[in-house]
Symmetry: C2
Subunit: 384 residues, 2 copies
């Protein structure tokens, strides 16, 4: 992933309004890190990208937190032949809602991830072998605590904001609670303060598909190999939960794939939606590690801010930042009421918080998709 | 399943209001049957049960149509040691909504099923081997056409009604269209006139879990063996779609299973909802055939009444029976609007039809669960 030369990147002008070529960087901490679960590793790496420039005070940074299957590559592209921009390119860039003329925007791959940050694929220095499922159980708070160490190390003194959707939104809330002095604005969307039984259930089906794939082999497999079938099944199912009934009806309806009935058998692909999901499942296995999927879904499931302090209001008591939470009407994975509940608790705790609900039929993925309404909300909130 | 002696059953008095001991019976047709797909089999068996008595005119029969994972065993129990009553025992019996003092209630396992009716587990007389995936593709209409042959053979001259939820409701609609003179009342619930893209998507994930399980072996496996892992995954996922976010929150919430963290590893069961789903998946593999699951989900996916005639209104034109369609507010698999659309089309086609929407938070499975409101609706509609 470090195949671009930063020098040549600076030499290339970006399109107006685009961040253009970017290159990931690795932050390596040689200090031990102790997980919430109690285990300690001797150090960790976080792979990250930045867009814009850090100001002299070190306080114009905005951290973008990614969701389950996301990574540090939030905007721009990695080489001239790379046609696929980062996953939130539509919101990050000069003049965009996360304005890189003004803010130093950062994204990093989470602890436990598989895109360059320390996770199950990484080599355990004690054994010389990949951690696999000997990696410590990761929590959302662990992810945030590694991010704080990294940000301080690179000169960030205070975050102008932390923003993220889904699991990214969980990190946003943890930031506000764990490092209240370090962040001025919290912007969480399509998220929850506690993973619901239904969401746990879907994650568990995905995990079972992986764990029961013979190629999982108790988590011991070479990088690029492993339980591809189980991981693809997990992704296909999860992908349905990111969309909505209405958006699937519009996007696919009951359209069939040409000549499929005659091709290879009764249960070959027949409908476009089947073909789409099979592709999504298969391509996911080319970019994601199954053990990371297990760890990160477990982090989601264990996320329940109220569990320790007894109530969400009590959990949010340390927050000093202003908060904006955005729910999407068609999101049935983290539905509006779960987003609204965060703001209700913040207000009860006497915090500055507001809730916005965007009407959309695009499901949970709404936060990732082109939305001038969302961009205006983000822009106004950051400027306020 | 035929382990009870019918003579001894008649000798045993049932509890008041209960059908008591029942025994399944096999109807065997030696006439060839041609599927909608064009293929012909030399005959078929339907396994069925009856509750109540057929009157002299043969016109007091009510056919109960089962859903994907249901069967012919709708009410009562099979032996004195059998503590599990049939799947719709709460609605069938003396004095109940489907009053067996008045009606001759029947249930049969569908064509393509695996509980005694002809399906992929059955032996193909041409090869002497189980059909497996050489079984013809089954449609909802095929199921109904075999039911009509069976009912006429046992002396039913006209159905007082056909009733069913989910895939059972699809059969109800097909009955009204395909054999309009043979049925007086149609009662469909928690169903649809066309499988949605989202529902197809969930079915496809389940099929992929089965098809990619190495033990599926292109559909060739001994009865009781086969792709148990894939079938369990399919069932776990499908089971989530039968419940609702609210009912899962109430039933399981985030309750954990005792001592699980210490037991056997990071990804062992931790939450009650995980334990419940694992049990559901595993127990399903003890009673259901994976190939049947493939065939029946395909029948669901191909169900689209409007596809041939061009509109649902045109498709429903042959109907002469009165219809009642019941939707449930929390059913997100076949949501209220899909149920309402059937009645709208029936009314536009000039038919007698009414729609009732029951407020419940129990999801798709609402139609199976104790509901005095539903029973009153059914009773009044049949009496009207």
């Amino acid at each position: 992933m470090n195949d671009s030369d930063p020098d040549s990147i600076d030499a290339l002008p970006a399109e107006p309004g685009e961040v253009g070529l970017v290159a990931p960087v690795d932050y390596v901490s040689d200090e031990p890190f102790t997980f919430e679960s109690g285990r300690t590793i001797p150090g960790f790496t976080l792979r990250y990208e930045t867009y814009g420039r850090l100001n002299a005070a070190g306080d114009n940074a905005i951290l973008v937190c990614h969701a389950l299957s996301g990574d540090h590559h939030c905007a721009g592209f990695h080489s001239l032949s790379d046609r696929k921009v980062g996953w939130w390119n539509n919101i990050i860039g000069p003049g965009k809602a996360l304005d890189t003329n003004r803010y130093f925007v950062l994204g990093c791959n989470v602890l436990g991830g598989c895109q360059g940050s320390t996770g199950p694929l990484s080599v355990d220095p004690e054994t010389g072998q990949p951690y696999g499922i000997n990696f410590p159980i990761v929590s959302i708070r662990d992810m945030v605590r590694t991010q704080e160490r990294w940000l301080r190390a690179i000169g960030v003194t205070q975050l102008a904001g932390v923003i993220g959707g889904s699991m990214g939104g969980m990190q946003v809330l943890e930031w506000g609670i764990t490092f209240p002095g370090f962040v001025r604005k919290l912007l969480a969307m399509a998220t929850t303060a506690r993973e619901s039984a239904q969401a746990i259930a879907f994650n568990e089906v995905g995990r079972q598909a992986i764990l029961q794939d013979p190629d999982w082999n108790e988590g011991n497999y070479a990088s690029g190999e492993g339980p591809r079938v189980g991981l693809a099944i997990a992704r296909m199912m999860a992908h349905i939960t990111y969309l909505s009934d209405a958006s699937m009806a519009r996007k696919f309806g009951r359209r069939t794939v040409a000549n499929s009935k005659e091709s290879t058998g009764a249960f070959d692909v027949q409908f476009e939606v089947e073909s789409y999901l099979r592709y999504q499942g298969k391509s996911f296995t080319n970019r994601f590690d199954a053990n990371s999927y297990l760890y990160i879904t477990r982090a989601l499931d264990q996320f329940d801010l109220a569990a320790g302090p007894g109530s969400l209001e009590a959990a949010l008591q340390p927050v000093t930042a202003d908060a904006l939470v955005v729910g999407f009407t068609s999101d049935w994975l983290f539905p509006p009421n779960q987003n609204r509940a965060i703001v209700t608790a913040l207000l009860r705790a006497g915090k500055q918080a507001s809730y916005a609900e965007l009407t959309t039929d695009l499901g949970h993925d709404s936060f990732l998709l082109e939305s001038p309404e969302l961009y205006a909300l983000v822009r106004d909130f950051l400027a306020s």
